[in-house]
């Protein structure tokens, strides 16, 4: 077999990594390279160093160590039965690439994943070697995200947590039964167990951090759910997310619209990825995490979200009796449930109304989206009257769909 040059390997192993939605580099502990030997810093907020023409953020060098894989997950381009070209990086190649990219300010750090070769432990050990070398040999203080192999030993997972800022295990399919049929070698219980162990380790990270004597343990873990590859409805997907957030304190659940892959399996839909559906799921996820909504209020299990309006507007339209809300007097929880008011706008409303009686213009200035908010609020100069209960209100709030050429 011909030896692939580095550029070809990078092309194969980043192409293989692009179906992972996560590229976040936020939430790490703050550190700098002051007083150290190498490069790197993290300041809490993530940085997107570039955007691809798909509009997605490029924050990290997101690659696989190898795309050889012994598993046969139907949705994955790297499954053993796929004809995709294969490559494998050496540990040193990944370390050098990361540092070279980092020093030129292309990336915030490394997101390393891998196909499973030989065994889970063997693969995990190789990935840990990369992170260990970056941290210990090069005193690299940038961001590291490691994908965990669920069946790898707890000790290796714990060592990964020692070097990484975030770890993740992808559940991929929202329903256990679809996981069983589409990814037969993956066990939902193994995945949940590994996440459970990781949460316990993150919770009492103080001890391993002392042992390492240099930096603390990973701050968070995340996962990804593929949307549109199986029969799961939005309600099922969000119920799964709610359960994951509660059980494993995940920093994020990423939703990834199932995207056609080269050399696809006949068992999966070969259509354009459902990007709008993915967007609505993120909005609903936000409502659960930052706006005080519980999943059953947003969508029932076995049902889908309304694609024509955002989930908060959808909720408000179904609960019109709770509106209009008086901007001047409503409490914070109530304001957060008003369509068109984001968390920031609500904070500003709370500050501004101590000083002045807010008008519609004021609302606009604090960042509210009046088009969505006006039917649901009362201000000093505005009352929606019958508008709130008007039959045609929903039609007025539906965003026009982008037309495509026929």
């Amino acid at each position: 077999m011909a030896v692939l040059d580095l550029r070809r390997k990078l092309a194969i192993l980043s192409d293989a990594a692009k179906y992972d939605a996560s590229c976040a580099s936020s939430g790490a502990e703050k550190r700098t390279s002051v007083g150290g030997q190498g490069v790197g810093s993290t300041e809490g907020m993530g940085i997107c160093h570039a955007y691809a023409p798909d509009g997605r953020c490029i924050s990290l060098l997101k690659i696989l160590l190898t795309n050889f894989c012994i598993y046969d997950c139907a949705y994955c381009i790297n499954r053993v039965s796929s004809n995709t070209p294969r490559a494998r990086f050496t540990v040193k190649e990944v370390v050098d690439l990361t540092l070279n990219f980092y020093k030129r300010n292309y990336v915030e750090g490394l997101f390393l994943s891998s196909g499973v070769i030989r065994t889970g432990d063997y693969t995990m050990e190789e990935m840990v070697r990369v992170a260990r070398s970056l941290r210990l040999d090069h005193d690299f203080r940038g961001y590291i995200h490691l994908k965990l192999i669920p069946e790898a030993s707890p000790e290796l997972a714990a060592e990964a947590g020692l070097y990484a800022d975030r770890v993740s295990i992808n559940i991929e399919l929202p329903r256990d039964d679809s996981l069983a049929s589409l990814a037969p070698e993956k066990s939902p219980t193994d995945i949940k167990r590994a996440m459970g162990r990781m949460r316990l380790a993150i919770d009492d990270h103080v001890e391993p951090a002392k042992k390492a004597g240099r930096r603390s343990f990973a701050r968070s873990q995340s996962t990804q759910l593929i949307v549109g590859a199986d029969e799961a409805k939005d309600g099922d997907i969000l119920a799964r997310s709610a359960s994951l957030y509660g059980a494993y304190r995940l920093g994020r659940v990423f939703y990834s619209a199932f995207s056609p892959i080269p050399d696809a399996s006949s068992r999966l839909p070969l259509t354009r990825p459902p990007l709008l559906r993915e967007h609505r799921l993120y909005q609903a996820d936000w409502l659960m995490r930052f706006y005080g909504f519980e999943r059953p209020e947003i969508v029932a299990e076995g049902e889908d979200l309304d694609l024509s309006v955002d989930p908060k507007t959808s909720w408000a339209l179904k609960n019109r009796a709770k509106f209009p809300v008086d901007i001047q007097t409503a409490d914070k929880e109530t304001l957060l449930r008003v369509p068109g008011l984001g968390a920031k706008a609500v904070e500003r409303i709370l500050a501004a109304r101590k000083i002045t009686r807010l008008t519609l213009d004021d609302l606009k200035r604090v960042g509210a989206v009046l088009k969505r908010a006006r039917a649901f609020v009362v201000t000093a100069d505005w009352t929606p009257g019958a508008l709130t209960d008007r039959e045609s209100l929903k039609a007025a709030l539906v965003q026009p769909q982008q037309l495509s050429l026929f």
């Binding site: 997107c48 053993v80 002045t356």
Partner: protein, 475 residues
């Protein structure tokens, strides 16, 4: 009309001194003209006000002003002075995000902050060929005058590296010890290429998913004004142009039949999905079986089935209700807060936990998600009954002389019928297999008792029950 000349576009100290003096003098905002003169410092600058005319402004105003002055708009200095002026009569202005002046200043500050963030993101260093030590340089054109204020970020990140960032406004350079600021420069002063850019462009092209083409979103986050200094941006037109074709090709390609291996594995899985195994004949079988058990629906949201653990021939068996949050994650019974309370009481009663067998009436954690928590829910009769399959098997295999039921759910699981704790506590009950039974509190009930006296009393009874159990079991 008063003319104020500042030493530079971002001369905050100069603006502050002038503004302070002007306000002390009572000069109205519309009577001031703000200009910048790089060469000569102002001749008729107002004398800095001395002590007497001093006044205070909220610290947040100073922070805001320091950002706003970096904005490229010409009216920023006048806007800041107008806000300063208004603050005298309207001290709460600063807290009113809905005021038009405040909103404008906030928008400017936001644009400056965004420009600074984009500078952190889009500076692209190039290796300086022929330099003695490893040295990097970059040419960058910031949207606002943020270079000096953003330099600290690069110092913290690349402390141990020599680097220079050249911009039209100013240049900053770091020699691993000191930051030097100098006049603006020219793109020709920076290296024009770097060998790593081939790899970076390869990465950029490969990480892009043509099936998700969304150039509008890209331009929103990476405005075109930055493109000419981004080595990867040259690829964008071609990537966009070929995307639809590539995506269409993927959709149109003949899908492959899954391999036999996959179909077989799926079949096997479908067959194994529900637990229909025979009666377990060892504790290991129970351990393996509890996690794949589908006798009720609790497995769905739980991490794993939590089997009992302890001595395989223990004379004393403890039965709790169900695993809690901690037990569900760890896969072991009684290791969370209730488990610690249990261990403490056991130690006081003189019973060694390792010589007993500890399990639960229900093997999966029943709960309800509430935000970032899981709220415990008591298993219902159907779930307890379904799980007796495992409890009975453990009981049969361990063959304890004494079974202690911790709480009402445990009593239901062991006795098969509701057995109130209040009336039965402390009594020795005869169990069907000739072993003896005791019911007592569940440790988490003790944790929940709000009244300290009641808690102490109940705890003492609990220890007393455990001691009795130990004695009956001969431990």
């Amino acid at each position: 009309m008063r003319v104020v000349r500042l030493a530079s576009e971002i001369d905050f100290a100069g603006w502050r001194a002038a503004a302070r003096a002007l306000r002390a003098e009572g000069v109205e905002p519309q009577a001031v003209v703000w200009t910048v003169e790089r060469e000569l410092f102002d001749v008729d600058a107002p004398a800095p006000s001395r002590g007497g005319g001093g006044f205070t402004v909220p610290a947040t105003f100073v922070e805001l002003a320091e950002q706003v002055i970096q904005h490229r708009s010409a009216d920023r200095l006048a806007l800041l002075y107008r806000i300063l002026w208004r603050l005298e009569r309207e001290p709460r202005l600063i807290d009113n995000p809905a005021d038009p002046d405040m909103a404008r200043a906030r928008d400017m500050a936001k644009a400056v902050s965004r420009a600074s963030h984009k500078m952190k993101a889009f500076v692209r260093f190039r290796l300086v060929e022929g330099a003695a030590a490893e040295t990097y340089a970059a040419w960058f054109e910031p949207a606002h005058r943020v270079t000096e204020a953003t330099a600290g970020f690069f110092v913290r990140r690349f402390t141990n590296m020599d680097w220079t960032i050249l911009t039209p406004d100013a240049c900053v350079a770091w020699d691993r010890e000191q930051l030097m600021v100098s006049e603006g420069a020219d793109p020709a002063d920076a290296p024009s290429e770097d060998a790593q850019e081939v790899l970076w462009r390869t990465y950029y092209a490969s990480i892009f998913n043509p099936a998700r083409l969304n150039p509008k979103q890209m331009r929103q986050e990476m405005p075109k004004r930055y493109w000419r200094n981004l080595p990867e941006a040259a690829l964008i037109p071609e990537l966009i142009e070929t995307a639809q074709e590539r995506a269409a090709a993927m959709v149109a390609a003949t899908p492959r039949q899954p391999s036999d291996r996959v179909l077989k594995a799926a079949l096997r899985h479908a067959r194994d999905a529900s637990y229909e195994g025979g009666v377990p004949t060892s504790l290991e079988e129970i351990e393996a079986g509890a996690s794949v058990c589908r006798r009720c629906d609790l497995w769905r949201d739980a991490t794993q089935g939590v089997p009992g653990e302890g001595a395989s021939q223990a004379p004393l068996m403890f039965v709790g209700e169900q695993p809690g949050d901690h037990e569900d994650l760890a896969g072991r019974p009684f290791v969370g807060p209730a488990g610690q309370m249990f261990d403490k009481a056991l130690a006081e009663a003189g019973v060694v936990r390792d010589r007993t067998y500890v399990t639960n009436a229900v093997k999966h954690f029943k709960h309800e998600p509430r935000g970032k928590r899981r709220i415990h829910k008591t298993p219902d009769r159907g779930e307890v009954t379904a799980c007796r399959w495992w409890l009975d098997a453990e009981w049969r295999l361990v063959k304890p002389r004494v079974v202690v039921m911790l709480g009402a759910t445990a009593a239901l699981g062991v006795m098969g019928k509701p057995t109130p704790i209040g009336v039965n506590r402390g009594k020795v009950l005869q169990l069907p297999d000739q072993s003896q039974g005791l019911v007592t509190y569940h440790p988490s009930f003790l944790l929940r008792l709000p009244d300290e006296d009641a808690k102490a009393r109940a705890y003492a009874q609990f220890v007393q029950d455990l001691r009795l159990a130990g004695k009956l079991a001969g431990l």
